[in-house]
């Protein structure tokens, strides 16, 4: 079989649970060596998609190919070529670190000649040297995640599926974990990763934004921030914040208004034109402005603008 150009190809993939459509006609291709991010809120269909790609659940309709193998017809060949980390930590807590590694080396049929090297490599990679004999359940969260990654790559799979690998892990461990992912990608491994942390999405080569089972945007983080945002973004620091956001929701020309930290993000058609009108509008509502300027949108802004159902603000657009 010729080497497929794409690691993952998804065509019209659908998954229904009863009346609920978890994944709704998804189309996607992920290239070799890409770090591909699957971004979306909880319940958007990220895990369902990744489970279908690993052959753990059957698609309702549509097709998906992983490493050139059809996930519905040939799940065992798919599994030989992937590493998978499920959302919930699911190694054996009652086994030692080294015992978990040996188990997965066995399950992936790592040849005995390479076994010692591969396990040593995984321990090194996961930074668990000297901790081999600890009971897995006693490890801190970040270590567990690294061990789970180590177990998933013992057989040097060309494709890695990571389902929210850093959920519940402290920020420093998260950072370290992403360094590991970048390392794998540099070595040619395709990484398909889901997350709902916006700052993590920035590490990905390409992103798909998923909302209610549908892909709402696809591109590099830069492209998404540049092209997917409808309108421009104004940052406003003002007081009182609550009154301002409430009033602005229905102000003329405002497409969206949301609180971001201690400031407001306002989506408008043209920032330069809107600025004086907004100042006047807020002044009339007895809100004092300490700062107002046009900013570049973050991924979160893009995501919010793509997924919030647009209310009166859009309808009153001139």
């Amino acid at each position: 079989m010729p080497e497929p150009a794409n690691s993952v190809v998804i065509e019209n993939l659908v998954k229904r649970f009863g009346d609920f459509v978890a994944v709704d006609h998804l189309n996607l291709a992920v290239g070799k060596g890409e770090v591909f991010g699957f971004l979306g809120p909880n319940g958007a269909g990220k895990s369902t998609t990744i489970r279908m790609l690993c052959g753990l659940i059957r698609p309702t309709s549509g097709r998906a190919q992983v490493a050139g193998f059809d996930v519905g017809r040939n799940p065992e060949s798919v599994r030989q070529n992937i590493g998978y980390m499920s959302q919930k930590f699911s190694l054996y807590n009652d086994l030692k670190v080294i015992e978990n590694l040996r188990l997965f080396a066995g399950l992936y049929s790592v040849p005995s000649a390479k076994l010692k090297d591969r396990i040593e490599w995984a321990i090194e990679m996961a930074n668990l040297k000297g901790q081999e004999n600890l009971i897995t359940g006693t490890l801190p969260g970040g270590w567990k995640q690294r061990l789970a990654l180590g177990c998933a790559v013992l057989h040097q799979p060309p494709i890695l599926f990571l389902d929210e690998p850093t959920s519940g892990v402290d920020p420093i461990s998260r950072r370290e974990f992403w360094d590991l992912i970048q390392h794998m990608a540099e070595a040619g491994v395709t990484v398909f990763v889901t997350t709902h942390y916006m700052e993590e999405a920035e590490y990905c080569n390409r992103l798909a934004l998923i909302f209610r089972g549908k892909m709402v945007a696809l591109g590099t983080p830069g492209e998404l921030k540049r092209d997917s945002m409808k309108g421009e973004l104004l940052l406003i620091e003002c007081d009182p914040l609550g009154t301002a956001v409430e009033a602005l929701q229905s102000a003329p020309g405002v497409m969206d208004a949301a609180v971001f930290g201690n400031a407001l993000h306002l989506v408008v058609q043209d920032a330069a034109a809107a600025e004086p009108r907004i100042k006047e509008f807020l002044h009339n509502h007895n809100v004092s402005i300490s700062r107002i300027e046009k900013i570049r949108p973050t991924l979160e802004d893009v995501f919010v603008s793509l997924t919030t159902t647009r209310g009166p603000a859009q309808e009153s657009k001139p």
Binding site: C54, I57, L95, R102, L103, G106, L107
Partner: protein, 377 residues
């Protein structure tokens, strides 16, 4: 089928059993405990049953009769009272199982060559015990009566014709009529039901509950390799427990063993695979440890206890219940155990029990294999 993957699963399972004190206790402590419990605790033999006596006559003859009661191993005269209500009270409180009342005219009637009645009041709460007691009591009194008749005839210059027909009884297989010899072989079926079905019913359910199943089935390991890898350690443990129980039965409780060890091992292996498959199947279907373990106990341990002929003879059950016993593999295994231990029946003559048991083994193993899929839904 890859041996590497199968062994990886088996090794993991062994480590988990060793780390889980509850499983370990069930494997190590339970067989010995059950053996001791049933070996010492359950005794269906009727021996030295407490008897109260009210001897209103107080004569030489009445004392002779009572001595005959006392000299059998079945009765133990614990108290002699002087009124009947005292006997009633002892029966009520359970201090006595039987009360014997010898009337005031006992010796007088006998010396006149007349007939007299001795009253025996039996606690028939347990009908089986009561029947046996009445039989023994009748036997004792009959023996005493015959003695008096012979003496009377001799005194009148006559001799009694020898009893024309005699039953010469010999007890086979369990010569000492020890109930422990009858009970103990069946304990093996209980032990294996617990090891086989109860412990394995937890293994798959546990993986679902802890979420480790998702990681496990994302690897190339096949459903068959998971099943065999998980069950192999329990098979080995079960066979070791069979050996331990057999040694205890023979060396400690002196249960006769007349059959072949090979036949015992083979029958035990068949039964073990049957209960392992059943436990695995339950675990796959129930997906929760609590539900799985309870179902396992209800459909393996209880039938092994009640419907296998282990304690309660199948022939004495109501016909409907007898029919139901055929549905449980434990019935065949317990029958096999008793035949192998006590009778030493050669394997060729055990097919009536071996074949149905093997049938269950094959069917349940197939059901277990088919039930488990590497899917999350």
């Amino acid at each position: 089928m890859s041996l590497t993957r199968l062994l990886a699963v088996a090794r993991k399972e062994v480590l988990q059993i060793i780390r889980d004190t509850r499983s370990l206790a069930i494997v190590v402590v339970m067989p010995v405990t059950l053996m001791l419990l049933f070996g010492y605790g359950v005794n269906l033999d009727l021996k030295e049953l407490p008897v109260y006596v009210c001897d209103q006559d107080g004569s030489q003859q009445s004392q002779d009769l009572l001595k005959r009661f006392q000299s059998t191993k079945y009765f133990e005269i614990v108290r002699v009272v002087d009124n009947v209500p005292a006997i009633e009270h002892a029966l009520d409180s359970g201090e006595a199982k039987m009360g014997i009342v010898i009337p005031w005219n006992f010796s007088q009637r006998l010396s006149q060559g007349g007939s007299v009645q001795v009253q025996a009041i039996v606690d028939a709460t347990d009908d089986n015990t009561a029947n046996v007691l009445m039989g023994y009591a009748q036997g004792v009194v009959q023996g005493y009566s015959t003695g008096i008749q012979v003496a009377w005839l001799q005194a009148h210059g006559l001799t009694l014709q020898p009893v024309p027909i005699n039953v010469a009884t010999r007890t086979w297989y369990n010569e000492d009529l020890e109930s422990s010899a009858f009970i103990i072989p069946g304990v093996l079926a209980l032990v294996m039901s617990v090891i086989g079905a109860f412990l394995t019913s937890l293994t798959i359910a546990r993986e679902w509950e802890r979420g480790s199943m998702e990681q496990l089935i994302s690897t190339p390991v096949t459903a068959m390799e998971i099943m065999l890898g998980k069950l192999a350690p329990y098979f080995v443990l079960g066979m070791i427990d069979v050996a331990v129980c057999a040694v205890l039965a023979i060396a400690w409780f002196h249960v006769p063993f007349r059959g072949s060890y090979m036949t015992l091992a083979f029958s035990s292996a068949l039964f073990l695979v049957t209960v392992l498959s059943l436990g695995f199947f339950i675990s796959v279907v129930a997906k929760s440890q609590l539900a799985a373990s309870q179902i396992a106990l209800i459909i393996t341990f209880l039938p092994a206890f009640l419907l296998s002929g282990f304690l309660f003879s199948i022939e004495q059950m109501p016909v409907v219940l007898q029919g139901i016993t055929y549905l449980f593999p434990a019935r065949y295994y317990v029958t096999l155990l008793k035949k192998i231990f006590l009778k030493g029946t050669p394997a060729a003559m055990l097919t009536a029990d071996l074949l149905p048991l093997a049938g269950f083994t094959v069917v349940l193993a197939l059901v277990a294999t088919r039930s488990f899929h590497k899917r999350l839904e």
